[in-house]
Amino acid sequence: MERNRIGGVSFWPAVMGQGTAGPGAPGVGRRRLLRAAGALGLAAGAAPLGLSGARAATPTRGGTLTMARVADVISFEPVVPTDNMSIWAKLLVFQMLIRSNQKGDGFVPDLAETWEASADKRTYTFHLRQNALFSDGTPVTSADVKFSFTRVLTDKDSWAASLYPTMDIATPDPHTVVFNLKEDWAPFLAAVSTHAACITPEAYFKKMGASAFGEKPIGSGPFIMQEWHKGDHILMVRNPRFWDPTRPYLDQVIFSVVADDNVRMLKLQSGEIDIGSDVPFSQIARLSHAPGMSVQLATYDRIDWFQFNVKSPKFADPKVRQAFNYAVDKQAIIQAALFGYGSVPTTFLPKMMDADTQDPPYAFDLAKAQALMAASSMPDGFSVTCTTVSGDTVGNQVAQIIQQMLLPLKVKISITPLEGNTQYNQLATGKYEMAWGYMTSDIIDPCELIAYAGAGDEGSDAVWTFYNNTKVNALAKQGLSELDPTKRAATYLEMQRIIWQDAPFLWLYWTPARTGVRANVHDFQVLTTGNYWIEDVWKS
């Protein structure tokens, strides 16, 4: 996952399953998601947002899929890069032991056919597919798995090492990997399914070195990275040695780079590309009616906010922060700036596993907001600078709306748009009073996002709000080792409620992933973690 396309946060799917696929038919869950997205207040009128073709027909083999995305891949080396473009592309080239399912609530086999955990959850055994081969023909063995995980744990630039408990890895035979954990670790399966833990061939990797491997990767995934024209496009071809002989359907996949939103949508409309990512909110309704294509909205683990620097005397008092949350009408903002394609958050996390979706959001209540301000340490209001990213139309629009909404509190906001990197750096060095921000997830378990945005003692100072609540910190740590899923959910619920009351953020909305897809593309879907299983996609 990434924040501002720089750096990343990963949070990974719920852990507690053991064994095979998650419950329910993926199709049903998906339709429900879309209907829910529709119910969350579409713009006036019925905008038919379709699935890109129901799986009624039989998939046809062959063809080339062209997908335009906002930026290029940085590297195919699995452990270090944290930008979404690299992550979502490498997942076509490599396999992981297990991966999160399409609904985002469990795990399904990938390289590992089956797995089991010991009763005390300290030993996890994975059984690899016997017929798995890397694209150069060498078999995938447990030694390769051990090598890949060791890199994640020990590489000096590895960001994912903290997701794992202290453990050692044993390889009793070429198709079995055993993890012996030295401590209780609730999110272990989620850690195993983290995209950094892609399985790479040990011999080839050592021969090439990390840098060269990142340019010419070899994996056991459904596609082979064939050509990479930097800044322009990447060509991937079907891996004939993929373990599943029926997949992938496509002969080729091209990821092209089209940074400008309007141009990308125009290319999609004219049929030059098959899939265009990140449809602008303002164009969703129009493009849903465009001939030959549709707009897919998918549940996406993302939350946007304006954050407070609680070290500033203006925001030190939680009553002020709560007042802001009551004074801002989030539903109105969603209608105005997002054209209705969003929902009001009920917790500081995106809508994911163990997220608190039962408590009410901050309702729009101006009287309550004013009462809170009057009782706070800043009853006469104040002036404050709020930084946004220049060029981010939606963010700046929302800032202007909030500027108006906060006037009754005698708060005068002056909006300062800054260049993206500058805004982020000011944020990360605490040189701000109020700033726009967001976070997304790679995986569905909440514990890393909790460490990033909730706990104040995990190195990121709660996304540099400097919010530091000892009870929250304790609950965060507790959740890591709480193996009982019900107790863990309860721990996290208690923690979320405290953070909600303390309101170190002005939470804005949850938004869906928005992808434009041509009508002849079938079975394409964006998962909650933002990636896509292209091996299932076919064209008619």
Binding site: E2, R3, I6, G7, G8, V9, A71, I74, S75, T82, W159, S211, G214, E215, H229, K230, G231, D232, H233, S256, V257, V258, A259, D260, N262, V263, L266, K267, Q269, S270, E272, E419, G420, N421, T422, Y424, N425, Q426, A428, T429, Y452, G459, S460, V463
Partner: protein
């Protein structure tokens, strides 16, 4: 003549040195820290310090500069903070599209400006002249990103002749795909060239030797193209050369709009990520390019105008 060229090339060196110094300083003055950018959310103070040391950013500025220059003298641009790739490789792969785009834009500029300038000068103060001049004002006034989008809407979406964006694979495809971007730049640039051409053509057409040529009974085309134009073209070419800096700069916008993987796009991306070595390298390359193009413009002058040749010799 050769000495003249050599002398100009030697002058390139202090220019390059100047560019490296200015860019080196400027890029480190803007807020934003490449180490923090690379680390993203994992940027604890310790990790940031370690990364800065790893990138060599903890040394004093003048030491950093000397290291940079030493590598440069050996032909090594260093490695990108962000991509990790050798920058010379990065620059080489992105140089092609930009060079093609620039050359293409110049050709299209001349294709538009020459006939239009000729027409305006010959039909001076008539309808054609007014139309051309209005067209010139409009063309120079429109912002390039707007022109780009309008061209896409018109010639790629409504009447689908050209692709919406991209670069294509293979040279013929490059030429076809780059037509709209090159045209975008040409629409902004041609008015300047054509106005200079028109002005100098009008002056040439009013001079004595043209009367002589006409009196000799030479056909109009020969008078115009064989006598007036060669005398008038030099200022127009000079104007084109002077605006090369603008041309190179406008590739940044045009490459972004049309998704062309050139130096402009590389520049924008590396500024956004504070990839210092890449910013330095690309600025240097673009600066040298501008100087070389200016040199080429002056050489064109030498070629076209015997009077300048005599001066130089």
């Amino acid at each position: 003549m050769i000495r003249y060229i050599l002398r100009r090339l030697v002058m390139l060196v202090p220019v390059a040195v100047g560019i490296t110094m200015v860019v080196f300083l400027l890029v480190r003055l803007i807020p934003g820290d490449p180490a923090r950018t690379l680390l993203g959310i994992h940027a604890t103070p310790e990790l940031v310090a370690a990364m800065r040391a790893h990138l060599g950013l903890d040394r004093p500025l003048w030491v950093q500069y000397l290291i940079f220059v030493r590598h440069l003298a050996a032909g090594d641009f260093g490695h990108s903070y962000y991509y990790g790739e050798a920058i010379s490789q990065l620059v080489l792969t992105h140089l092609g599209p930009t060079l093609v785009l620039i050359a293409y834009s110049v050709v299209l500029t001349l294709v538009i400006a020459l006939p239009a300038g000729l027409l305006a000068a010959v039909r001076r103060d008539q309808a054609a002249d007014h139309l051309v001049r209005i067209g010139a004002v409009v063309g120079v006034g429109l912002p390039s990103y707007w022109i780009g989008f309008m061209l896409i809407l018109l010639l790629a979406v409504t009447i689908p002749i050209f692709p919406v964006a991209g670069y294509g694979t293979g040279f013929p495809s490059h030429l076809f795909d780059l037509f709209l971007p090159a045209l975008t730049i040409a629409i902004n640039l041609a008015p300047l060239v054509l106005r200079a051409l028109r002005a100098s053509l009008m002056e040439a057409l009013a001079s004595g030797y043209i009367d002589t040529a006409r009196a000799k009974g030479l056909p109009r085309r020969v008078v115009l193209l064989g006598h007036a134009l060669p005398n008038a073209i030099v200022p127009a070419v000079t104007v084109l050369g002077l605006n090369i800096g603008y041309l190179v700069g406008s590739t940044v916008i045009v490459e972004t709009v049309f998704a062309v993987p050139g130096l402009g796009q590389l520049m924008i991306n590396s500024i956004g990520t504070r990839d210092y070595p890449v910013i330095q390298a690309v600025t240097l390359v673009l600066g040298v390019l501008v100087v070389l193009v200016n040199l080429a413009t002056d050489l064109m002058q030498l070629l076209l105008d015997p009077r300048v040749r005599r001066e130089v010799a």
